[in-house]
Structures are given as C-alpha cells and as structure tokens.
C-alpha cells in the first residue's frame, strides 16, 4: 500500500464558535494589570468547551495560540501550556504561533489547512496579547542590516509612523476623514452593545488588583462611546508634529485573548456542533513595511481570486482598525464608501481595542454573529494589516444563506465533493 493516498480529498472547514475576553487597557489602569496572559487564554478555551458540551475534549486535535511576544506569561509554547492549564486532556497537543497582529488569524488558517488536509478533525485556534506585560517590540533585536542595507526604513518598525506614511501616500485621506471614521466606530460599537450583540461572545473574567480585591469584567474597557469628531480634532499627533494619526483614530494598547473552535464539516455534523461559517479562502500578502496598513488590499485580492469571487460578492466586512487611515485606504481602493453599512457593523478596534495577536478571531466571531443576523448575506471578509508590511484576508460563507454551498446536505462534505470555491 502506498504511503500517499491517491484518493485524498480536501475537506470543508467550518467555524463552530468563537469567544473572547473583554479587552482591557494596557498598563496600570488596565483591568488586567495584575492578570496573566495565559490565564486569559484559559478562560476562553474553557468557555468554548462549556458552550459546546457535545464536543468531548479529547477530540480536540490541536490548540494553536498566537502571541506576538512569546516570553514570560506568553512564553513556554503558550498553546500547549494554555491547553494544560485549561484542563484539556494531556493527549491534546498545542503550539504557539506568531504573525504579529494577524496571529490569531494565522492560527485559524494554519489549523484550518490541517483540517482540510485531514490531519485534524477539531481544533482550537486563538490568540492573546497582554500589551501591558509585553509592550510591542519588547526584547526584539532588529538586524542591523535592515538599516545598513536600507531594507526597511527604521521608521517602519513604529506602527504609528507607517500610518502617517499611509496618509502621505493617499492625500485624499485627510485627518478629518480619519477622525470621522473613528467617531463612527465608537458609535457603532455602542449601538452593538446596546443591541446585546457583543456580550454573548464575551467570557467574564475575574481579576484581582492590589488594594482592591477581586472584580468581574464583563465588558470592554477601552470604548469611549461619547467620542465626538470635535474632541478627536483636538488630540495630539504623537508620531509627527502636525500629523494626522492620534490616539483617537487608532487602536489603543490593549490586553485580551480570543479563541475559536474549528472543525471539518463532517466532524461538526458527527458531534452536532453548530456551523457558524464555512471557510471559503484565505491569503496573506506582503507590502512595503513602511506602509504596512495597505496590506489588506493585496491579501483580499488574492483571497477573492482564489475563491473566484469579486469584491462585490462580499456582503460583510470585518476589517481590523489598527488605524482609521488603513481602513480608509482599503475602502477607497475598492470603491466602498466609508459609511457603507457592510463595513464593521459593530465598530472596530479603534473603539474596542486591539490586543495584537488576539484580534483575528474577534473579527471572525463578530462576522459569524452578523451572518446569523443577516441571512441575505452570502459571503463575508475578515481582513487585517500586519506589522512589517503584510496583510491577511479570510473569506467566509454564511450557512444561513439560501444558496449555502453545503446546504443540500452535509453529505456533500462527507462525500468529499469540494465546493466550487475550493477549486
């Protein structure tokens, strides 16, 4: 018998569930200033298991957890340590993963690839960043060749600078537009909270602070729902005198964790796990590090091409808001107006925060909930820019849509008939 199976077929990958901790502000005033990063991941993993009681923990084939800084409480192969700390059986392996801001997104695509290949049936993928404990770039030692050979402008290592660079490249994106977008993000998040659209996917976290005792955190700490464009206009531009990027039109420095449950379509059916989204395609792309915020554009084009879809087919966008300018450059490129209701319906990272490696799964969890709310949408996109000049994009299909590929029967997947999008 041959070691390679000529009958091997790709399997459909579905997003079963996703949760996250409430996000906190990094630093002493943050709700997690005395809480460990790995403990935040553990809360998410346990919540996933509680919410999906039909999944035997021993069936989890791998646990991929992303963190940008993999030392201290984010070190020691955090996917494995978090699995052990969460009480998963010792037979369940785990690993750590890093693609800076797209860590959790990469954890999803990497393990999804394993599912499609047949190596896994069920996985947990997520991410964490405790930026209070691990300021961005802490302990990094950039190779001097970056500088001496002009491989990367040193300014590109500072994300705020790259956002200013993006304003330079696209003069049509003014500070006013960025501020206006940011205020809208705050407002949309407040509306989502008011509509109870955020809370169902939050894991309550008890955290203790010296001199205060234990408290319970059930909501995000960063949002400023009252933010007005006028207030934003007055903020300092820390990266450049008379610049355009402010704390108000960028994501903050945050602590938080996310985790998602993915499965093959067959396994989801077997274990009676809900199917919230089907993975259609994904892509990563590199751009000049100095304008890393443009990364989602080529990544999205690549993912669309693989799926055989056009941007017009995308009914919902969950784009990470590292900076307002980066979202606007994406929207301008694709000719989408900035208040298009398909874009970031629940607001984005400018309001809720962006604990680097954790954010990808937040986008997916929110897209899944929007799919449920809006069965008229067939395809959605989750995308984000990545430090050092990259972009990531993942396209998902809504199982609630009438034309859902696997609707005819789960047998389609069981029989191994790859959908047209997998071609």
């Amino acid at each position: 018998m041959s070691a390679t199976n000529p009958a091997r077929h790709l399997r459909e990958v579905v997003f079963v569930d996703g949760v996250r901790t409430p996000f906190g502000k990094a630093g002493e005033k943050g709700i997690y200033s005395d809480t460990r990063a790995d403990d935040l991941v553990v809360k998410c993993i346990r919540e996933l298991l509680r919410r999906n009681p039909s999944l035997p923990a021993a069936r989890i084939d791998d646990v991929a957890i992303a963190a940008t800084t993999q030392t201290g409480d984010q070190g020691l192969t955090i996917g494995r340590t978090a699995a052990l700390l969460a009480g998963l059986p010792k037979s369940v392996p785990g690993f750590a993963i890093d693609r800076m801001c797209a860590g959790a997104m990469t954890a999803v695509t990497t393990t999804a690839s394993g599912i499609a290949f047949g190596a896994y049936d069920v996985v947990i993928a997520g991410g964490v960043e405790h930026m209070g404990n691990h300021p961005m770039g802490q302990g990094a030692d950039p190779n001097p060749r970056f500088l001496s050979e002009r491989l990367v402008d040193p300014a590109a290592l500072n994300m705020g600078n790259t956002a200013e660079n993006l304003h330079d490249r696209f003069p049509a994106i003014t500070k006013e537009r960025s501020d206006s977008y940011a205020a809208a993000s705050q407002r949309k998040l407040a509306d989502a909270y008011a509509g109870n659209r955020i809370q169902p996917d939050l894991v309550p976290v008890a955290a203790k602070k010296p001199g205060q005792g234990w408290g319970l955190h059930t909501a995000d700490q960063p949002p400023r729902p009252e933010t007005t464009v006028e207030e934003l206009a007055g903020l300092r531009t820390p990266f450049r005198a008379h610049g355009r990027v402010t704390a108000g039109n960028a994501a903050g420095l945050n602590d938080g964790a996310t985790a998602a449950l993915l499965a093959s379509a067959e396994t989801a059916a077997e274990l009676e796990l809900p199917v919230r989204m089907r993975l259609v395609s994904f892509a990563f792309a590199g751009v000049e590090p100095e304008v890393m915020g443009i990364g989602p554009v080529p990544a999205t084009e690549k993912a669309l091409k693989q799926a055989g879809l056009d941007i017009a087919d995308i009914g919902l966008f969950e784009i990470n808001e590292a900076f307002a300018v980066q979202v606007l450059s994406f929207l301008d490129h694709f000719g989408i107006v900035e208040d298009d209701e398909r874009v970031n319906r629940y607001g984005g990272a400018i309001a809720v925060g962006h604990p680097l490696a954790s954010s990808g799964v937040r986008l997916m969890t929110q897209l899944a909930r929007q799919f449920e709310e809006d069965p008229t949408v067939r395809y959605g996109l989750t995308t984000m820019c990545i430090g050092l000049g990259m972009g990531a994009a993942v396209i998902w299909e809504n199982p609630h849509h009438q034309d859902y590929s696997l609707r005819s029967s789960t047998a389609a997947a069981v029989a191994g008939t790859a959908g047209k999008d997998l071609a």
Binding site: G211, G213, W214, G215, L216
Partner: protein
C-alpha cells in the same frame, strides 16, 4: 453591640498584619449587583491571611456598610472570597495566644460572633466562595454565609480548634452539624482535628455538604459568580438542587445526634485520655446545644472560648505550634551556615537489616540518589534490598508513588557484600548491632574504602559517638544521625555533634535532614541524647514504683493526666523489653541510680516474655498469673498521685541536668524532641511548660524552665 465596641481590643494589636476587606461591586448576568468582598493582606502566598482583632474590625465595618447598602437596595447580594490559595487561614494564633486576661479573651470571642453574625444576618443572600485554605475561623466565616461554593483546588479546609486547645466557637460548632449532620461534624471537628490535624480538600468538603457547589480552580470565581447569579435570581432548579442536597446531607434525628456525641467521647478518651479540656468541652457544647437556638449556642461558645483561652493547654499548644513546629524546627538552634554543606550524591548504608532497609527507603525516596546496602553475606544483602523493593511496591499500590517513580526508587537501591561499593559515596551511615566494638570495626573498614571527604554517620541510640570516632583517621567526619522508629513516620532526627565533628560535616547533616523532610535538633554527645534519656527516666520511675510493690494498673495509669500517647508498659512492649533494658543499663552506667534498672524487667527478658500486659478477648488487659509468678515485689507501694508527682520531679531534674550539661541549646529543643520524636502532646508544650505549670521545675530546680512565661 456593634463592631466599634471592640476598638479597645483592636488598639492593643498595633502590629497586626491586617487582612483587609476589599469590596467591589459585581454586575451579574440578569442584572443583579453583588458586593464581592476579598480578604487580602496584600502579601504573597507565603504569608497566609489571618484573623486578628483589627482584621475582624475592618471586616465588621465593611459588612455594616454593606448592610446599609442592602437596606437602600443598592446591592442584591454579598459574597466573601480570598486571595489566591486562601479563603482565610484562621484566627491569628499569636494574637489570640497573647490575650492574657479573661476579659480580652471574651471580647475576642464576641467580636467573631458580632462580625460573622452580620454576614449571616444580612437581608440579601450571602455567599462564601471557598477558593483555598479555610481553617478554623476562616471556615466559620464561610459557614456563616447563606451559600457556599468550593474549589477543587482548595486544600486545608478544617476546624482544627480541638487540636489547638479551643472549640470552633465562632459558630462552627453550631452550624457545621446542622449543615452536614452530627456524625460528619464530629468527624471533622474531633476525629480529623485530633488525627494530626487532618484537613479536607475542596472535593471532600463538597462531598460532606460543607459547600453547595464545586468548581474547578481555572475559573472558580467566574463560575461561582455565575452560580450565585442563578441563586439570586431565584432560578428554581438551582434552588431546588441546593435544598435537596442539604436535606440529604443533614438527614439526622436526635438519636443520631446523641450517638455522634457519644462516639466522639469514645474517640477523645482513646486518643487523649481527656488530658486536655478542649475536645470534651466541644462535645459538651454539641451535646447541650442539640436544641439550642444559634443565639443560645453563641453565648455558650463565648463562655467556652473565654475559659479555654486561659488554660495552660491552649497556651502550651500555641507555644508548641508557633514557636516550636513553625519556627524552631525550621531554623534549628546551633546549625552551622548551610553554605558549608557538601552535596550528597550517593549514600552507603552498612547493614541490611530492618533499620537499614527503612533508612534506604527514606534516602532513596527523598534524596533520589543511589543508595547501596552492605552486609556480611549475599543472603542478608538480598533480603535487605528485597525489603525495600517490597515497600516501594506497597507505596505504588497505595498510589503514593507512580509506576515511573517506583521504578526509579527501586533502581536506586542496590546491595553489595563488599564495602568497595562505598568508594564513591558522600555519606555512609551504619545501622549495625548496637555494640561499640562492632561499630568501630565497621567504620575502620569503611574508612579504608571511602574518599577523605565522605561523611560517616551512626544511627546509634545509646553509644558514645566520641568513642566511636576515637580511632578514625578522620574523626572530624563522624556525626550521630539518630532516627526514630518507624523512620517513615517519626519526624525527629537527633543530630549528634561529637567534640571533633567539623562544621562542614554538621552543616551537611542538617542539609540532609531538611532534604529528608525531618525535624533536626542538634544534640551534644551525651548518653542516649534527648528523647531516650527523657523517656527512660520516666519509664524507670514507673518500673521502680512497680518493683517496689505498686499495683501494676496503678503504676501504669499514674501518668494518665499527662495524656501521653501510650502508657509506660505499653511503650515498653512496643520498644521491646530487651532493647529498653539495654538502653536503661547504659544510662544507669552513665548516670547511676537516677535510671532504675528493673530486676523484674530482666526476669521478663529471661523468661522470654515480650509484654507485661496481655489483652483479653474482651479488650481488657491483665497480667497473666504465670508472668506474675516470675516477678518479685517490695512492700513500699505508692499511690498514682504520688507516682505522677515523683515522675514530674524526676523529669524536671533530668531535663534540668541535661540543660546544665549543654546537651541541647535550650528547653525548647527538649520540647521539640519530645513532640516530634515521642509524639508527646502539644498541650504539654512538649514537656517543660507543663513541668513549670505543675510546679515540678521550681520544686526540684528552684526555678522555672521558662521564667518569663
């Protein structure tokens, strides 16, 4: 009364490490607001939270504030939890132990009731989330709450008051039996407390019914809050589950109650001879309190605590527990700088008999280094190694060792007929026949093989370490290392310093003792060291009275008021009459008539008798006529009271002499030795506080052992 009335008491403890009461509001799913109170001393986990007067004041004031907020409708529930690993470890013993007058004691007892009553009496539901250790007053806080959750990761859940010389008098004695039934309450408060202070873990506490819900530590607080939210919102199923479970756990009638008390009394009598008042007092409260209201019980609890806090038994226990077990045993008096200690990577044991086997098992398990046993022929060596392997198998069967650890331990223990196997050992201990020439011969042979740095140790119980070292090439390397039987159970290790023993050798001996998890006490090389000298002086007094014509039962029961773990004649049989006689003779040789060598004991040995008493089928004991026929008695019998007093005086004299001779650094070391080496009760404070209290020290030595106390 209100919390503020206790200000005068609290002011007397300006240096108390306060466990603060931090309160934060938690908004629960469903909309309720719960005030979450965290007991936290803001120190790391090595400093347990405790309850002193200032701590209770702060807690009381916090709860009074919450009572007002509840009255205004601002909060819907109150919950108490602790810093990581502790709900709260219990009353601040050093504070409670220092309350010199009855009135202060009474205030302290009342303060607890005042504060816990607030938690119990709130008009909103109250919860305790038992996240970690909850001992004594710590557990009683939880019992005062309306509902409890407990973590599977919690350890150290107990009501140890009876063990300490008190009663669980902050409501525990009233609430626990009503929650988990009288039989289990007696088990927790009496049997566990008096069995080396055995404690419950979270799962066991839940199983007994101490808590209503059990959650895992990873998200214990979150799940406890989620559960509390259900209770607060009136979730019918959750409430019904609690109700049914409590009814099941507290399913008892009056007869069960009385039976539980009676069984408790039998246990206390067997375990302590009722030598200390606390366990009996606890059972009195339980017995009388069967039909009491909580207020009636509280009044009686305050009285009992007030009384017990003034007893020497409680004071002695606090001394034994805090000053000896917790402090002195961790920092042995006279131990050299531990930096001088040399690593021990291989251990040699001369002899392969029963003692050698016990030592080999201990060294292999605790040090995890190769241990080699030697003896004069292969059969003995094989038997010795086989004994250790069989013991390892037993540990594995009892799940005390994993299969891998059992394999590792067995592989570490080997045997040889040649002492050449000691060539690379760092520490060689002998456990051969108790005969000086034999031991000297053994050490001469060992010294011929080992490296110049190898430490030699003797497990002798009665021979002179100095004489044993006399002919060694390196006498500075010999140290006494006296274990107690059974080696695995008895904590004490007497480390004997001979005049030439050097500092590095001594430091290594102490480091080794610590790694072996033994309580080490430094003793000078004097006959029989500490424990055996004190024990045999005592046994000699009793056998002297017996030989002089005192009735056996009177003689053997005379020391009952001391509450020793067994009677002298029972101890004699357990040690073995010939062994006891041998040690007694060597003490007689060293110290003369103070140590009575009993002719009757010799007659028992000669006739092959192993015990004076014989246990009849009905459990009663008697001396068989054929044994009596062997013995000869004088005609100057004494009463039990006279013998007790004579024994107290003899002990005071002997210990006074030992301190004069400098056998140990102070009376505290004698006490620590008697508690950890002979199992003498903590309510005697070991022995010297007791000898002070009964007047023996002043009668015999003209002064107390602890003049300031």
């Amino acid at each position: 009364m209100s919390t503020a009335d206790f200000q005068s008491l609290a002011r007397r403890f300006p240096d108390e490490t306060i466990t603060h009461s931090y309160v934060r509001d938690v908004h629960l799913p469903g909309g309720a607001t719960l005030a979450l109170l965290t007991l936290d001393n803001d120190l790391d986990h090595s400093k347990p939270t405790t309850l002193g007067p200032n701590t209770l004041m702060e807690l009381g004031l916090a709860l009074e504030g919450l009572r007002e907020r509840a009255g205004r409708g601002e909060i819907d529930a109150v919950a108490v939890t602790g810093k990581p690993y502790y709900l709260v470890a219990g009353a601040d013993l050093s504070a409670v132990g220092s309350l010199q007058d009855a009135e202060s004691g009474r205030l302290m007892a009342q303060l607890g009731h005042e504060v816990y009553g607030l938690l119990n009496g709130l008009d909103v539901p109250t919860f305790a989330f038992i996240n970690g250790a909850a001992m004594g007053g710590g557990l009683e806080i939880a019992l005062a709450a309306h509902y409890r959750t407990v973590s599977t990761g919690a350890n150290g859940i107990s009501l140890p008051e009876a063990f300490l010389g008190l009663v669980p008098g902050w409501g525990g004695v009233y609430r626990l039996p009503r929650l988990i039934g009288p039989a289990n309450a007696v088990k927790v408060m009496i049997e566990n407390a008096l069995s080396n202070n055995k404690m419950l873990n979270g799962s066991a506490a839940f199983e007994l019914g101490i808590a209503d819900a059990l959650f895992e530590p990873a998200d214990f607080l979150e799940q406890s809050l989620a559960w509390a939210a259900k209770i607060i919102s009136g979730d019918a199923q959750a409430l019904q589950t609690v109700k049914e479970r409590r009814a099941d756990k507290a399913n008892y009638d009056d007869a069960d109650w009385d039976t539980a008390v009676a069984r408790g009394r039998i246990f206390v009598e067997a375990k302590t001879s009722n030598a200390a008042p606390a366990p009996g007092k606890l059972l009195d409260l339980l017995e009388q309190g069967r039909d009491w209201t909580q207020q009636e019980s509280a009044a009686a609890e305050v009285e009992a605590l007030t009384e017990l806090m003034q007893t020497p038994h409680f004071r002695n226990t606090v001394y034994a527990f805090l000053d000896l077990i917790q402090r002195r045993s961790k920092r042995p008096a006279g131990a050299p700088d531990k930096k001088l200690a040399r690593p021990v990577t291989k251990v040699g044991i001369v002899g392969a008999g029963l003692m050698a086997g016990q030592l080999a098992l201990l060294f292999a398990r605790q040090l995890k280094v190769p241990v080699v046993l030697t003896d004069i022929d292969q059969a003995r060596v094989d038997k010795g190694v086989a004994y250790v392997h069989a013991e390892v198998d037993k540990l594995q069967a009892r799940r005390r060792l994993s299969a891998d650890a059992a394999n590792r331990t067995k592989a570490l223990v080997t045997g040889s007929v040649s002492k050449d196997a000691f060539a690379d050992a760092d520490f060689v201990i002998e456990a051969v026949f108790e005969e000086l020439t034999v031991k000297k011969q053994v050490f001469a042979e060992v010294e011929a093989v080992v490296s110049p740095d190898c430490i030699l140790a003797t497990n002798t119980s009665s021979l002179s370490v100095t004489e044993m070292a006399a002919d060694l090439q390196h006498p500075e390397r010999l140290v006494g290392f006296h274990f107690f039987n059974p080696v695995a159970l008895m904590p004490l290790l007497e480390i004997v310093r001979a005049p030439k023993t050097d500092e590095a050798v001594l430091a290594t001996a102490f480091a080794l003792a610590k790694d072996l998890k033994k309580t080490a006490v430094l003793v000078q090389d004097a006959a029989a060291f500490v424990v055996n000298r004190v024990l045999l002086r005592l046994m000699g007094e009793v056998s002297r009275a017996f030989d002089n014509g005192t009735d056996a039962r009177t003689a053997d029961e005379a020391l009952r008021p001391m509450g020793l773990p067994m009677t002298p004649f029972t101890l004699l049989a357990m040690v073995g009459v010939p062994v006891a006689q041998h040690v007694q003779e060597s003490l007689h040789a060293a110290f003369g008539e103070r140590f009575h060598v009993s002719a009757n004991q010799q007659r028992l040995i000669d006739a092959g008798k192993t015990s004076l008493w014989e246990t009849a089928e009905d459990g009663g004991k008697h001396i068989p006529q054929e044994t009596l026929d062997l013995l000869q008695f004088g005609n100057s019998p004494v009463t039990g009271e006279e013998l007790l007093r004579a024994t107290q005086d003899a002990l005071a004299e002997e210990i006074g002499l030992m301190l004069e001779e400098g056998v140990v650094a102070g009376p505290e070391d004698i006490d620590l030795c008697m508690i950890t080496g002979a199992g003498w009760p903590m309510h005697l404070g070991g022995i010297t506080p007791y000898l002070d209290q009964v007047g023996a020290a002043e009668r015999v030595n003209g002064r107390k052992f602890h003049p300031g106390r």
